[in-house]
Amino acid sequence: MGTHVSTLRTLITRYCVGEENWVDSRTIYIGHKEPPPGAEAFIQQRFPDNRIVSSKYTFWNFVPKNMFEQFRRVANFYFLIIFLVQLMIDTPTSPITSGLPLFFVITVTAIKQGYEDWLRHKADNSVNQCPVHVVQHGKVVRKQSRKLRVGDVVLMKEDETFPCDLILLSSSRDDGTCFVTTASLDGESSHKVCVHSVCARCVCVCVCVWLASFESLSLLQTYYAVEDTRAYNTEKEVDCIHATIECEQPQPDLYKFVGRINIYMDSEPVARPLGSENLLLRGATLKNTEYIYAVAIYTGMETKMALNYQSKTQKRSAVEKSMNAFLVVYLCILICKAFVNTLLKYVWQASPDRDEPWYNNRTDTERQRHIVVRVFTDFLAFMVLFNYIIPVSMYVTVEMQKFLGSYFIMWDDEMFDEELGERAVVNTSDLNEELGQVEYVFTDKTGTLTENNMEFIECCVDGHVYVPHAICNGQVLPGAIGMDMIDTSPGPGAREHEELFFRALCLCHTVQVKEEETVDGIKHGIHQGKSTSFYISSSPDEVALVEGMTRLGFTYLRLKDSHMEILNREDEIERFQLLEVLTFDSVRRRMSVIVRDSSGELYLFCKGADSSIFPRVVSGKVDEVRARVEHNAVEGLRTLCVAYRHLSPEQYEEVCHMLNGAKLALQDRDKRLAEAYDVIEKDLILLGATAVEDRLQEKAADTIESLHKAGMKVWVLTGDKMETAAATCYASKLFHRNTQILELTTKRTEEQSLHDVLFDLSRTVLRQHGGMTRDSFSGLSGDCTDYGLIIDGATLSAVMRPTQEDYKEIFLDICRNCSAVLCCRMAPLQKAQIVKLIKASEEHPITLAVGDGANDVSMILEAHVGIGIMGKEGRQAVRNSDYAIPKFKHLKKMLLVHGHYYYIRISELVQYFFYKNVCFIFPQFIYQFFCGFSQQPLYDTAYLTLYNISFTSLPILLYSLIEQHINMDILRKDPSLYRDIAKNSLLRWPIFIYWTLLGVYDALVMFFGAYFLFNNTTFTSNGQLMTANTQMMFGNWTFGTLIFTVLVFTVTFKLALDTHYWTWINHFVIWGSLVFFVVFSLLWGGIIWPFLNYQRMYYVFMQMLSSGPAWLSIILLIAASLLPDVLKKVICRTLWPTTTERIQNADKVYEGQLSEFTPLASLHAPSKAGSHRRGSGSRRNAPNPRRSEPFSKKTMFTRWQRAPDYSTFAPLLRFADGSRWPKQGRGEAGPGTSV
């Protein structure tokens, strides 16, 4: 795993910074002072200034660069080419027809991008120009931020945002610490916004932080000044510091920094280690500290934040891919049409009387043109004539649909969480429809499935269990000292262990006490108002533990001058000197502190996961504790073990030596530290264990169950231990009682080789599932066993080892056949690896990752759709996600309702767009056969231009925004409907071909309908026949207008037929656009337009309308065009109804009341529904006509089951089938935590 991490990091580094001529380290002269003579010769390195540039354009290059960017999009480029061709050659249609829409699209986009860039410029300027206090020659000088140079000593005051990456030299606080909120770094925005942080956050929007190994991020972090410079805390003193800093060259990892400071005190340099605890990052804000002095080490574009500027990779939805494939087909059709027509033209012209009949002579220039040029020009002209088959407006409409459509997600009141005051957020509207295509859901456990609201449940010291009886919610209750001893009362020896255990928990943590809280302007210290003070930590577990200790009588007060103060049960303050902190990391999975108590004794307290503590324990009641830990883990509690070790002064010396050696290393510091920790944390004596509960989120189980029913596979990826995670999985109904659990864990691979285990499992799974097709409702077909797989991180990395490709295959095979998979003990990067593995498997399923913490970011970025939960762990996940929701339960509506709607909406949009353009252009293609292949357009220019822009654009846009083929309550209650649209089912090739053929059919009907009316007959107006004085002839423009009229009506009616949800807006837009077409045509033909050089449309439309046969034929042709589609719909609906259609029918039968009932009961036996059915008995049998009455339910469904194949209620049957629907209360019965 380690190798994976480092490879990835190298890749990131390479990608972000480029590898060119890196000097290993840089030397910085604090205050630009030269080192004393005798120090190594120095070459002043050149560093960039502190200017931040996030803008893309300047005033001068905006137009060319933006144009270039825009025309790099294939579609825009295509339209540009068409436009240029129209300008260059003599084409049938005016350049305006394609130039105007293109110009419109390009301008709108350019304005939008220009505005965004202007905002960035503004933000850049205010960042670059905001004043910074710099110490120069013992004085504080104001400087513009952009003029800051590496080596400058900066004075920062409270609430100021750091202008570059700084090393903390000294602080106003005595202990040389300062507090920093990384608000703008990880996006938490609840803090006060100071002048600078506004811009900082603007810049931050595009920061994508790669967090490799951090479990979580804290809100307030402590940074430490270098010990030897801590005392210099006035500008004069600071100016005297004579020191150099050696540190690595800038690299993007926010939380990694190694450096060394050489302080020349009495000409003898002292070297001290610098780590990320000394490094203040640009964009963070100083808090709770009056002022600090710090030295700039990375500036401008070399700051860690700037190195993290990296736009998220553009995710493309499956629909977009289909759309592109269809586009390619249409492009081929277009080229074929143009090619065929060009070819036919020259074949046709082979006979001279056709080439140039006497009535239609060419000009001399045309005659002299070379044949190749003529052919080529003709080809281009045909291309131009048919280019409308791929309309600009489709792109615009799709973009608008996505953009506007995403508002419905944000507006959704049901996805508003009152507790958090948050609503759903859409970061990427491009993926709306992908929400309806999800096949795999990868979810984090902590904070996603669970609330991440840790509560101390119990602790166990040497097998004695202590449970605090006062349950309180995240608050330190004063005077809540008391406990219940559940077990036996401990003996005197145990008493000592017990106290040591409590002290250990009070000392071994990184919790900070938020000492001051301003309430109504009065500052309360911890003594006056305990209730207003609270603990802050990067890990909620630690807070829970420390709070739990408070309830058990030991209160952690503060850390003061490296002394930790504890208020013990006797209300005495005990002081421990904090000597070393061996910080937590996810590889070791433990942390330790070394403290010296008041009597001078040295202790090492270690706290960590059982698996990482037990192997290091030499004595203590291991078995008792282990039993308790396992018991608790099965209950779904998060357990930690606590151990200690006495250190003799000599041992401590040795420890100090090792740690310092490792800390000072510039190379491989992490590795050496890990080694040192490994040596130090050994020979431990086990004290006991703790148990902390993380409650399941509200409706998490219901949500998971729905996702399962919707055919999604849910994987839980967690860093927790297997037992805890498995318990959560049972509680959240990921695993059911009858789920057969397959284990692929270290425990098993220790017994058997990985190879055997894998083959064993795959045999088990495949035997069961062998005969089944994957698409069949696997959950429905009888009593086949559900499989659940548990795999842990270590085994996973063994499986994923690149040398063993076949393992991966087998593993995927197993996973595919398991309904639920639990991956525990995952490192953040492994989460992403799993997602990637599934993504790359042969079916290329659509994946969704949901998580709340920084450790989920990699997974969220990797998955097709990344969803962030607005949890407690900062905004990392939210900012990197595509969508963010307040709670896990909202995922259900997000996918089942919004995802479903967007998918059907956009698929109809795409198909309909192609269809209506086939209808539009195909008659024009056929017309070429009747006009000597002369590129004569069938329709007038205005019609060509406006067809896609205004006559037929709004209805489909509106459809794609508000269509609801099924009531949303039904969608939510019957998740299996989601399967109807799985696998991009509405955009498969057969359906696409159906639409295209329908388009061709309509085009043929329209064209030949009009053709037979016109051909060789007196197709005449009879409007004035009463006076018998006129009988007019209709020309070619009337012919085109007739077809066009039929066309507009047909495609609009086709959409109307597909619309299932007619709100007043639909009526308005559909009828409105038809009326608009008529009014426009009347107007366009009613006036001699002075700006046109031809008046070919003058009175054409009116003349046509004054003709009875025209009316009749319009009606006839519309009817004939729509007939087969209606027929197909009705027949299909009756003979082979989809689940969706069945539900629609059912809903119809129930007159829309289906949705008014709750999921289980309603679909079983809504009493009103029952009354519609003669003799169904539900009414008579149910004394209380509400909801589910089991008996009547049964009778009804046995009746329906008689003809299950054609029953409207076939999909609902499954609800009646008790074995399929897990009994309510199973959750409680299972080994779950309380819900």
Binding site: P357, D413, C931, F1014, S1113, L1116
Partner: protein, 338 residues
């Protein structure tokens, strides 16, 4: 308090629109609606179809080709483009009373008035009487823009290729040729005649045409198109207007005149007639044919069986399909609805 207010601020609007819960009519194409609908539409269409077909059948059409192919054809001698002018006489008999008002058409086939270059080859400004465009016709008229550096008026291929055969009809009454009067007025669109096409205001009209030349193929200039009626000259000559409205398809008919003056206002009686044709227009060069058509009209225009048949077909289809659907529906739906 502040927190509460913030919550409200962030809370989405709870309106029917934002929550996607607008009241809606949710129709469904179920068999129950579609079958009766199809029957009704089908029956209506069949009714219309029958009416159209009956009307169409009642329209009488009398057609004669006069291209002059074949030695026996009276116009054969004229089909050779050389000797001009050439007159040929077509004798024919109408066996039935051709009920009036009778419309007289000429028809051309294989003639591509919809050829792109052809159909744009005119100058709308010139044709609306703009004298500026008399001096310098639009480029679209090319190659019939200028002749020997003098502007052609009216310019362009369409005008240049105007149909210029003329017809005179005589009824053979007891061996005397009694002329049947043609009424050449009111055969063009009212808007074309009154608004779109305008002669310059110059009087006499011929002065406007000074320094211009007539279209190359024209025997007479535009202001002398109709020697009998001075109001029918220039750009508002009815035959010119009819010609200028380019046909949609290569086989087309254009109205030449109506027969609505007494004594033929009631129609053409059965009997023998003679059509005297001034044969000017060459069509054999491009493989075309020429014909003349006598026809009367009904409320639905000229004879066109297609519309009636199409209505019948679609109507029948609707009814048939509704029966098919009924069978399907009965077979698969009824047990369940029981």
């Amino acid at each position: 308090m502040a927190k509460q207010a913030q919550d409200f601020a962030n809370r989405p609007d709870n309106t029917a629109f934002t929550q996607q819960r607008l009241p809606a009519w949710q129709p469904m194409l179920s068999a129950g609606i579609v079958i009766p609908g199809f029957v009704l539409i089908g029956l209506a269409f069949i009714g219309i179809g029958v009416a159209l077909l009956v009307t169409s059948q009642s329209i009488q059409v009398f057609e004669m080709d006069y291209t002059g192919v074949g030695n026996n054809h009276p116009c054969f001698h004229c089909s050779d483009p050389k000797p001009k002018p050439c007159v040929c006489k077509l004798n024919f008999t109408i066996d039935f009373f051709l009920k009036g008002p009778v419309f007289f058409y000429y028809g051309l086939s294989n003639y591509f008035q919809n050829y792109r270059k052809y159909s744009v080859s005119k100058d709308d400004d010139q044709l609306s009487g703009n004298l500026k465009n008399f001096e310098s016709p639009s480029d679209t008229c090319s190659p019939y823009q200028r002749d020997n550096n003098k502007p052609i008026v009216p310019c362009g291929s369409i005008a240049n290729s105007m149909f210029n055969d003329t017809f005179k009809l005589y009824q053979n009454v007891n061996a005397t040729m009694k002329p049947v009067p043609f009424d050449g007025k009111g055969i063009a669109w009212w808007t074309d005649y009154n608004i779109k096409y305008r002669n310059p205001d110059t009087t006499p009209l011929r002065n406007a045409f000074n320094n211009t030349v007539k279209p190359i193929f024209w025997p007479v200039p535009a202001y002398e198109l109709d020697p009998k009626d001075p109001a029918n000259n220039g750009f508002i000559n009815q035959n010119f207007l009819v010609w200028m409205r380019t046909a949609a398809l290569p086989d087309f008919r254009k109205l030449y005149a109506r027969i609505n003056d007494p004594p033929y206002a009631e129609g053409l009686p059965a009997g023998s007639y003679m059509l005297e044709i001034q044969y000017n227009y060459p069509v054999l060069a491009f493989g075309g044919t020429k014909k003349v058509v006598f026809s009367n009209v009904s409320w639905m225009g000229g004879k066109n069986d297609f519309l009636g048949i199409a209505y019948l077909v679609i109507g029948t289809l609707c009814v048939l399909m509704s029966i098919v659907m009924l069978i399907v529906y009965a077979k698969f739906k009824f047990p369940e609805e029981d």
